[in-house]
């Protein structure tokens, strides 16, 4: 290892970490006051990682240049994205084949049916891939990053998986558009629509829940995972609410929600202490009157956007805020993203990036605009494919994102990206401006990829690499080798701990 370059950089890095570099203040004694500390590029990058996917270096500069309040306002009042095209139906024969199977499906040995089944399976798989890349593309390119981030939150919250339970075609995309429409809308209203959503009706079996045999799956998860949390209802409440949701189904031909009154249990139910002839909508309204509902949303929002083990006091404050705004999320998110808690030391880099954040953020960082289907395999190895949560509980997140297998998958993704320079924009910051000095290159990598969040010794190792340490040619950084060397160094920088953290 070339000691000279490394030790020079080591000294420089040691000197370059004054305490003012850190965000102001530790956890305030009165949570959720407005943040009034300094505003800089590092905090703008923090905001963009949390309220979006990280953004490009120019996005970060753009937000850093305006006052914090304006930056948050720009993210909250996002431009309309209504014109964004939905994914194409990759093959419109799917419906036709489906019909063929339903007509002749009784005889499983029928060759025509076997062939139709195989074709249908292939079509659905192709559609599935198209749906995932459609959303990833949208996350990368969106002019409304917070809208996509909230949509991702809601997808993990009302977690539904495509490719199973007969969820295919655009089922999951329609649900996704529902989440997007309600990204910062009223989440009680959203929950009423979730109970009517075709993908959800299939996923948790409510479409088949009939008076004689109520299916408890949706009723249980509605309370356990979506609204109240375990311990805030009884088994009896599960059984009674399952009765109330009987008849919530969809019309097979149109796929539209349909209330089948003949299969609805019209008798009296006792639910969370109230008695009446309730239907599913009544159940949701009763649920949202419970103090546990805003609390569950508060905990989950804090864990997703701020830090993973929020103080009970803070949860209570955010729950009160949600209740005060009657589950309208725009004012809630606006307050959170402007708060002293959000910009505290305790929140900074205190979340593990999800694989989707890791991948989409890396694409934005390097200006890569088109998502290749192979990325789905990489995301799968990292532990998160959009539209494919492991269960209705969604992804656990936090430390659960990290294990030997998923960390290797992250490194391999970064490595393959840095081995495909043709994917990046011609004028990429990484190689723009010709060969830099080792010191400038190290500073650029550290500040652009990590906002300076690297240890001095790691940066010394990086500088050593840039100057040929451990490389086959063992030559100093030069006009001939600098592009390849910069890509290798960018890969190594993305392998550093801070890049795994949001």
């Amino acid at each position: 290892m070339p000691k000279r370059a490394a030790s020079r950089y080591y000294r420089m890095a040691m000197n370059a970490a004054p305490s003012s570099f850190r965000p102001a203040g530790s956890l305030p004694s009165a949570p959720l006051a407005a943040y009034d500390g300094p505003w800089n590029t590092r905090l703008a990058a923090h905001l963009l990682r949390r309220a979006g996917f990280g953004g490009s270096p120019s996005d970060i500069a753009h937000y850093a240049a305006m006052p914090m309040g304006d930056a948050v306002a720009a993210l909250i009042r996002f431009p309309s994205t209504a014109n964004y095209p939905e994914p194409q139906l990759t093959d419109d024969r799917a419906a036709e084949l489906s019909l063929l199977m339903s007509v002749r499906g009784a005889d499983k040995t029928d060759d025509a049916v076997m062939e139709a089944r195989k074709q249908l399976r292939d079509m659905r798989r192709t559609q599935n891939v198209a749906n995932v890349t459609w959303w990833l593309d949208r996350m990368v390119a969106t002019p409304a990053p917070l809208q996509e981030k909230m949509t991702l939150f809601l997808h993990g919250h009302y977690a539904t998986a495509a490719g199973t339970k007969n969820i295919y075609g655009l089922d999951i995309v329609d649900q996704n558009e529902l989440f997007r429409r309600y990204a910062l809308g009223n989440w009680r209203e959203l929950t009423h629509y979730v109970a009517r959503d075709r993908a959800m009706l299939k996923w948790l079996d409510n479409a088949r829940s009939v008076k004689a045999h109520p299916n408890e799956n949706f009723a249980r998860e509605l309370m356990e995972l979506f609204t109240l949390g375990i311990g805030n209802y009884s088994e009896q409440d599960v059984r009674e609410s399952a009765r109330a949701f009987t008849g919530f189904t969809f019309a097979p031909r149109t796929g539209e929600f349909y209330f089948n009154a003949r299969q609805h249990d019209d008798d009296s139910k006792t639910f969370l202490g109230k008695t009446g002839n309730f239907n599913g909508d009544d159940i949701i309204d009763i649920i949202f009157q419970q103090p546990a509902a805003p609390k569950l949303f508060a905990s989950k929002l804090l864990a997703f956007f701020i830090y993973s083990d929020p103080e009970p006091d803070l949860v209570d404050q955010v729950a009160a805020l949600i209740r005060k705004n009657d589950f309208n999320m725009e004012p809630v998110m606006s307050t959170l993203l402007r708060s002293n808690v959000f910009y505290s030391d305790r929140a900074y880099r205190a979340l593990v990036k999800s694989p989707v954040e890791f991948v989409v953020g890396t694409y934005q960082l390097f200006g890569i605009t088109s998502v290749q289907p192979e990325v789905i395999g990489a995301l799968n190895r990292m532990g998160q494919v959009p539209f494919h949560p492991p269960s209705v509980k969604g992804w656990d997140g936090g430390a659960q994102w990290l294990n030997t297998q998923t960390v290797l998958a992250r490194e391999n993704f970064a490595s393959s990206l840095m081995s495909a320079p043709e994917m990046m924009q011609a004028q990429n910051w990484l190689t723009q401006g010709g060969p830099p000095t080792t010191e400038a290159a190290t500073r650029k990598l550290s500040s652009t990829i990590l906002q300076g969040d690297a240890s001095a010794s790691a940066l010394a190792d990086l500088a050593g690499y840039l100057d040929g340490g451990g490389t086959s040619t063992n030559t100093m950084l030069s006009g001939e080798n600098f592009e390849e060397r910069m890509r290798g160094a960018a890969y190594l920088t993305m392998a550093m701990p801070a890049y795994q953290l949001s």
């Binding site: 249980r220 690297a454 190792d461 701990p497 953290l501």
Partner: protein
């Protein structure tokens, strides 16, 4: 040569610094506790999680009970189809391979396993089985606590392995970090960057003083270190294992093939976690459950054939669990909803096969569910005390009577 220091378990508030130069795969040489059986220090436990809630009544079928057929008008398995164990019960017909192992005395069926105050949530009940704590929330798993208490060498990266894409809670301890390996292929740094960067990657300082603090920082650094070193070493350490066994081409078959390779390579691995499923059969149960039980049964047979061919069948115990059984009465979708007690399988050359515990009664139900007859923690206690020769204190809260399939 640079010596890397890293922190184990700092996130749990414990800091154990370790030097980590070239200390892979060293076999265990820790003495077991005095007064406990000897010769247990190369024993391995394979834990199979049957995820989603496996229906117990269609696994060990009470074909002698008319009530079963009344509750299961379409899902009931006819007496003639059941692989009969006795006049009352028998195995699901999909498990012919396992039945042959049962007949050879290598399978113990624990009937009616469960716990007091059964929870019907997948997530909470899975957590309960993994943490062995039905009454309160616990962040470590029982295997994790066992590993912590077993005086395992801190420098062995493979004290236990989870053959799964996500590290399950059961393997989480305070001191021992367990690697997750979804499959051997893909467990490694890809070769599309040159070897040199790999070298730098290994050397690059993952610790050091940072201009920020994060509760995850030490965890990230540790896992990156383990991932880097472990993925380079594991393929080398197990490459000497040759086998003629033919496993079913299923995810479980592949996992158990790798498990046999790891066990047979004697890396000091004490516990291997494998998952299988999902058994969450709310609708059209028969198709799904029969397929999954057949996959399980065939893969276990191949696994033990492989282990036996290498003389490892007697040192390898396999134990299954599932978060719950299912409702006694079938639902309108030819499926079953979440229930309570369900059987566990213990398989291996070192056990006394047969039936353990009572088959749950269909006469006295708990709100439509069968009640447990064996606390699952008794099975864990049996494994800890009789298989590993260790005490359960610090691993299980409370004392539980052991069963007699292990002596």
């Amino acid at each position: 040569m640079k010596r890397t220091r890293f922190l184990i378990g700092a996130v749990a508030g414990l800091s154990v610094a370790a030097n980590v130069d070239n200390l892979f795969g060293r076999a265990l040489a820790q003495p077991i506790l005095p007064g406990l059986p000897s010769g247990t220090d190369d024993r391995v436990l394979v834990v199979i999680n049957m995820q989603g809630g496996n229906d117990g009544l269609n696994t060990i079928v009470p074909h002698g009970n008319q009530k079963y057929y009344q509750y299961r008008p379409t899902l009931g398995i006819a007496p003639n189809d059941v692989l009969q164990i006795n006049k009352d019960i028998g195995l699901n017909p999909a498990m012919a391979s396992l039945k042959s192992m049962y007949d050879a005395g290598n399978v113990a069926l624990v009937q009616g396993a469960g716990y007091p105050g059964p929870d019907h949530s997948h997530f909470r009940s899975t957590e309960i089985w993994q943490t062995a704590e039905p009454e309160h929330y616990e962040t470590t798993g029982w295997v994790g606590r066992f590993l912590d208490s077993a005086n395992l060498p801190a420098d062995n990266l493979f004290n236990a392995v989870a053959l799964s894409p996500v590290l399950p809670e059961v393997m989480i301890g305070r001191r021992v970090d367990v690697p997750a390996i979804a499959a051997l292929q893909g467990f490694g740094l890809s070769s599309d960057r040159n070897q040199n960067e790999r070298g730098v990657f290994a050397a690059i300082d993952k610790g050091g003083s940072m201009p920020f603090d994060s509760p995850y920082l030490s965890t990230v650094a540790m896992i990156e270190d383990h991932a880097q070193r472990g993925s380079q070493e594991l393929p080398k350490l197990i490459s000497g294992y040759k086998t003629d066994a033919s496993y079913p081409a299923t995810p479980l078959g592949r996992s158990l093939a790798l498990a046999a390779q790891i066990v047979g390579s004697r890396l000091g691995t004490r516990v291997v976690y494998v998952q299988h499923g999902s058994f969450d059969t709310h609708a059209a149960q028969k198709q799904t459950q029969d397929r999954l039980l057949k996959e399980f049964s065939d893969a276990i047979k191949a696994f033990y054939d492989d282990l036996a061919a290498h003389g490892n069948d007697k040192r390898t115990l396999t134990m299954t669990f599932s978060e719950f059984g299912r409702r006694v009465a079938e639902n309108a979708s030819r499926g079953t909803d979440h229930g309570e007690a369900a059987p566990m399988f213990l398989v291996g050359g070192g056990i006394k096969g047969g039936l353990y515990g009572e088959h749950p009664s269909l006469d006295v139900l708990d709100n439509g569910d069968v009640k447990y007859t064996v606390d699952f923690r008794s099975v864990y206690a049996t494994v800890i005390e009789k298989w590993f020769g260790r005490q359960t204190s610090g691993v299980l809260a409370g004392s539980f009577p052991t069963l007699t399939m292990l002596t």
